[in-house]
Every structure is written in C-alpha cells, then in structure tokens.
Amino acid sequence: MTTAPPLILLVDDEVPIQRSLAPLLRSRGYDVEVAGTGEAALKSVAARSPDLMILDLGLPDIDGIEVCRQVRRQSLLPIIVLSARGGERDKVDALELGADDYVTKPFGPGELVARIRAALRRAAGAGDGPAGRVRAGDLTIDYDRRRVYRGGDEIRLSPKEFELIALLARNADRVLTHRVILKTIWGPQAVHEPEHLWVLMGQLRKKIEPDPSKPRYLISEPWVGYRLATEPADDGPA
C-alpha cells in the first residue's frame, strides 16, 4: 500500500445510489470513481487500476455478472457485488466468477464499509510472503502444523474439519459458495450432496465457536455459502 488513499470504483447506474455512496466512501478516506455503465467500468479498471470495485449487478448495458467475468480475466482487484435482485442465484454466479463479496440492497453504510475494509485488507495481505498461519480474532490457524488454536489452547480437529477451516481461512473474509466448498473438500461428485457440509460445519462450529448458536468466526451467508470473519460483525452505522 502506498500513502495515497485507496481508489474505489463505484459502478451503479442509479444516480441516487451514486450520490449517497460516493460521499460515504469519501468520508471514510477513500478516493471514489463513479461509473454508470459496464462499459465505463471496464474502461476505468483499465485506465485507473482501482483498488476495489463496488459493482451493481443490474447495469443498463452489460450484465454485471459479465463485467465481473471480464474484470477477473485481467485483474485480481477485489469486487464487492451490490445485488438489488435478492436472487441468490446471481450472488452465487458472481462469487463463482470471481467476486469477493456481496451486499444486498437495501444495506446500511456500516455493512458496506466493513466489507470494503475486509476486502482491502485481504488484498493487501495476499502478497505477503509465505502465509504459514492465519489469525482471526483470537483464533490461529497454522497450515504447516495443521493445528488450530483459540487463545493459547489447541483445538483438536478431524482431518476434514481442518480442511474446511483451512479452506475458509485461506479465503478469510471472502464468501465461498457451498458448491466451491463441496467441490474442494469432497470432490466434484459431492456438489449435489450439501448435507456433508451442513454436518461438518456443525461439528466445526461446536469446537471453534465460543457460542455455536451465534457464530462469531464461521459466518453463514444464507443460501449462498460461508465466510470466515476475521473481525466481529459490525452492522451499526460507523
């Protein structure tokens, strides 16, 4: 990271959204570039190489999913999808095409800012040498030793449980879709048997979460996937 504030590309054709989100982001110390169409968004990505893109899926010219696909082809920049459709299908598609996270309209400012922060942090950390371990709150996941600690205590996990938490930790703060998780851990034939995942996630939560009924680390994104939260959820207007 240089000293210049991160540049966020806001892609939404609704003028009221542009006019409310741009001041919000500026007030949090980000530079903001606004694009009203998919075409303009692709141009801005090429010309200004923003640090993060907020992308509305319902664009007038190119479908947001398609914009996602094209950006991913040339850049690893974090993408946060805004979906007004409420359709889980769109979110899953966007995530599997390389979007990092999504926020459903209507959302509060705190929710969006927290997702931006997490995405930028992850992008900054991605290039940092050999990541032998990942920390999330007082949780530490040590890949090399295949160990997980909470505070100073080791938590004993089965091999599958470790695979699951390692996968989520490697993509900390990103939403991984059910499909992707099933495919990675059980293989392609398992994508239609999500019950494996429900059971394993239940076991893992029991061992890791301070209160399994109110997950702090292993956050469920209903109908879409799971996410390992490195910071406690922050939904209040910051």
Partner: protein, 544 residues
C-alpha cells in the same frame, strides 16, 4: 305433436319416412338419386315418340322387315329411355316396344296374333333383354349418382373438418360449429346437444330452429339415456323426422347430434358425428386452455408486480439509509448536508409515487374508480398533473399550448393523474433539460391532450405493448427508473371516464402521446371563473 322415438331397427319405416321428408323438402337436388316424375313422363313420351318414328320409317319408307334389325332398334330406344328415367318407365317402354314389335313387324302384320311359335320365343327374349338392360342401366346410373352424392357428402365433411380446425374462439365454437353443419349440409335443422347436470344444453341452428323445436328436442333427449352409446335414433318433433346420432370419442359419449330436413346416409351421419365429437372436445379443450392461460397470466402479473415493487423499493431505501448515515457524520460540510437531504427528499417522493401507483392500479383492477365530471379549464388539468410529478419534471421545461379558451366537462382528477403518468414517462425518457410540449385542443365534444418529448422515440416493436402493465421497451439501452406501471395506469384511469390514449413517433423525433377524453364544452365566459390555479398559455416556459 309430441316427440316419438324409434330405434333404427325399424329401417323400412324409416326409409319411407325419409323419402317423404325428401319430397316435402323438395328433395330433388342434384345429388338426389330419385328421379322426378316430370323427367319420367318426358322420357316416357320421348320413348313412345321414338318407337312411333321407328315404326313409321321402317314400314313406310325403308321397308325393313328383318326381325333382328327391328328388335335391336327397339332395344336401343328402351336403353335410351332407361338411361334417362326410372326403372318402371323403362319397363313400360319395354312392354310397349314388345307390343309394337309384334303388331307391326311379326307376321301376321296388323294383329297381336303370332302365326309361328318361334316368334313367341323371339318376342319373349326381346322383352326379357330389354327389361334386364333397362334395369342394369338405371342401376348403374343410380350408383353413379350415389357416388357423386357420397363424394359431395365427403367434401362437406372435409370442409366442416377444416372449419372446425380454423375455429379458435372457444366461447363461440359450438354455436359456430352447428351453424356450419346446417350450412354445409343444407339442413333445415341441426343441433348439438351436450349433457349437463340435470338436462341438456341444446345448441340449435338452421331455419327450423326456434323455441318450440328446441324445447321438443330437449324433451326428446330427456327420454334418452343421459349418455347414449347406442346407434342412431329418430324422433318426430313438430311433425318432422329428426335423426339423432351419438357423439362419441373412443368409447366415451360426449353428446348427441340432431339433424333434420334432408336425408343423410347413415355412414355419413356417423362420420359427421365423429367430426362433431372431435370439434366439441377441441372446443372444450380450448376453453380449458384459455382458463389456464388466464390463470398463468394473472400469476405472471403478480410476480412482475412483486419484482417491480422489490426493485423500486430497494434503491430508494438504500439511498435513504446511506444518506441518513452520511448526515450523522459530524464532519459533513454544509453543502454536502444539503445535497444528502435533497437526496432523501427525492427518494421519499419516489417511494410515495410508487405507493400511489400501486394504489391506483389496485383501484383500476377493482373497478373502484368513481367518475366525477366538473367544468374546468383544460390548462388546470395540466397544472394539476405537473404538480403531481413535479420532482421528476425538474430539469424539463414544460411548454404549454393551451388552445382555445373554453371550459370542458371532464373528471379533472382522473385526467390529470393520467396526464401526470404520461409526463413522468416523457421526462424519464428525455435527455436532461429537453423541453416537453403539451398542447390542448377541444373539438368534436372531446378534449385532446398531446404530450411530445425529445427522447429517442418509440420502437416499432414496442408500440402494440406500450400500455401493457410492466412492459418496458425492447431497446432499454438506458435503464429508466420507472415502475413499468405508469402508462398502463394512465390508460386505466382514462378508460374509467371513457377516454383513451395512444402513442406514436412525432415527426422530427421524440414520442407523441395523445390523450382523448369525451367532454362537453362551453365558452369560459359562460361561467364564473372556477377557483384554482389558472395557467396562461406559455407561462410555464421554465420549471421551478
């Protein structure tokens, strides 16, 4: 006369009755196998004349006395008569020919007495040959006529099947079908009778159909098995023979076909009943499909409504929430604060308009729009409409051509609301700062309001659907922040007061919407100036 029903076993009586029917209905059409008495008489006279001529020519001039030649000549005459007349005429001519043969040519001449026994044999052979030949000839002719008749029936059946397939309107299908049968088969009476709970639905057609016959038919059917599966039956109704054929699909009976006025061959009647049964099934299928279509459309409309509302709620709610968050930040500059407040107000307006749309739509659907006609200046309607969509008209100067200075009697609220939707649509589809022209005209007892924008105009493909609910243009290159309800509401509101709306492309570009409302009018001097805002022509060159 009460209806009587006979089973088809009584074939002889039935045929007799049919012949009587045929005679009564003047049944000597081109496809009737029976000969007319007139033609028989003419043939007979012609035969007699021909024999007289033969006798005259052979005895007076040619002096032919060879029995063989004379016999063959007479045989020729008999065959010609048989070819043109019925069998009994041919037989009578044969008998006369035999007598003439005997009297004039077999010795002793001039008497019916025969001298030689072999001449008796010759005479007997002649009579037999001529009778058999005459019979064969009439039979062949009858068969040819029957073939022609059957071919015509087939053609009628074919035409009817085609009519059936071309029928698409399920509501009128049965009525149309029975009319087609009566017309195609030249029947005095035809009826399709479909069983329903506790009786029969009779769909009659033809010259004979009418209260008494239909009622008698219904009574006759009442005596039948509700689901007749047997053969043909007949009923005497109002003195006419009516044939009843069951309508069957596979083994299932779907109704009864009744025909009268012209004998139809049993096979043809069966085929006809088959076609009718299929047509009835088809009509019932169309009916069911229509109901299913309606249900599906209503479902689609509901989900379109939900999608539209969901989309149109989310953006304003997000904006309001984020803008409120921005306002809570202590470091916000005054200019930014004002902008965020304006943003919130605009989005609240948008939500308000959305709810207004939903309410208006619900009222239109419920038919709950009361019309309240009043005398107003047309310009007042424009003023009221402009106020309703003031927030969206910002940046679009409204140029008004107020037309003549008259009062019109319309429902000002409905008209203004409809106009507001059209103005909103115009503003949404026009480039920023482009003017919107509204002109008013009163003529032929109606008020015409035209709205012209400077937008991209209307795509040909959109024109037929423009006023359908939730229809958005096929070429929405720019997604417009609309609900997809506005123009359909405008049409609904106008329709409530007997008005209508149409759209076209304006010469020189842009869309041109025309609102027509039936309205009595009078010069404005005839009444006290009504209270309310008055808009002089051209006074609104600028938006506030």
């Amino acid at each position: 006369m009460g209806p009587r029903i006979a089973a088809s076993r009584t074939r002889g009586r039935l045929e007799w009755q049919e012949r009587r029917e045929a005679r009564r209905s003047g049944g000597h059409g081109p496809d009737e196998p029976a000969m007319s008495p007139r033609q028989d008489l003419l043939s007979f006279l012609a035969g007699v004349a021909a024999m007289a001529a033969v006798v005259l020519v052979y005895t007076r001039w040619l002096h032919v006395d060879n029995a063989l030649i004379v016999g063959f000549t007479f045989l020729l005459v008999v065959l010609l008569v048989a070819a043109a007349a019925s069998l009994w005429v041919a037989a009578a001519v044969s008998l006369l020919a035999m007598l003439a043969f005997n009297f004039f040519f077999l010795p002793p001449l001039g008497t019916f007495y025969l001298a030689e026994p072999q001449n008796w044999v010759a005479l007997f052979v002649f009579l037999t040959v001529s009778l058999v030949a005459g019979h064969l000839s009439t039979a062949a002719r009858t068969r040819a006529r029957e073939a022609v008749g059957r071919q015509k029936e087939l053609a009628r059946l074919f035409d009817l099947s085609r009519d059936v397939l071309l029928t698409t309107d399920s509501a009128e299908a049965i009525t149309q079908l029975v009319q087609m049968i009566a017309r195609r088969f030249a029947l005095d009476f035809a009826a399709i009778c479909l069983p329903r709970a506790g009786g029969w639905d009779v769909h009659p057609a033809g010259a004979l159909s009418g209260g008494a016959v239909d009622a008698s038919l219904a009574a006759a059917l009442g005596a039948l098995d509700p689901a007749p599966t047997g053969g043909h039956r007949t009923a005497i109704i109002e003195g006419r023979l009516v044939r009843l054929a069951p309508l069957r699909l596979a083994a299932r009976a779907v109704g009864v076909l009744a025909v009268a006025g012209r004998p139809i061959e049993a096979g043809t009647l069966d085929a006809l009943a088959g076609v009718v049964a299929m047509a009835v099934e088809r009509a019932q299928f169309l009916e069911a499909r229509k109901a299913a279509d309606l249900a599906r459309q209503s479902e689609e409309l509901k989900s379109a409504l939900l999608a539209s509302i969901a989309h149109n709620l989310r953006t304003p709610l997000t904006t309001i929430r984020v803008a409120l968050g921005n306002l809570q930040t202590s470091s916000i500059a005054d200019a930014d604060r004002r902008e965020q407040i304006d943003l919130i107000v605009a989005e609240v307006d948008r939500l308000q308009r959305l709810f207004q749309n939903i309410l208006e739509m619900a009222r239109i659907d419920a038919g709950a729009i009361a019309v309240d006609r009043r005398w107003v200046l047309p310009a007042q309607i424009v003023e009221a409409a402009r106020d309703q969509v003031e927030w969206v008209l910002r940046g679009h100067p409204l140029r008004l051509d107020a037309g003549p200075d008259v009062l019109v009697q319309v429902d000002p609220r409905l008209t203004a609301s409809a106009l507001a939707h059209v103005l909103e649509n115009a503003a949404q589809y026009s480039p920023p700062l482009s003017p919107i022209d509204v002109s008013l005209a009163v003529e032929d007892e109606r008020l015409t309001i035209t709205v012209r924008d400077r937008g991209p105009g209307l795509a040909e493909a959109d024109l037929p659907h423009l006023f359908e609910r939730f229809y958005r243009g096929v070429e929405s290159t720019r997604r417009i922040a609309g609900t997809g309800m506005g123009l359909s509401i405008a049409r609904g509101l106008l329709a409530a007061e007997g008005g209508r709306i149409s759209a076209a492309n304006a010469p020189g570009g842009g869309a041109l919407f025309t609102l027509l409302v039936a309205a009595a009018w009078k010069a404005s001097g005839a009444l006290e100036p009504s209270p309310g805002p008055l808009v002089p022509a051209g006074a609104h060159g600028e938006a506030p």
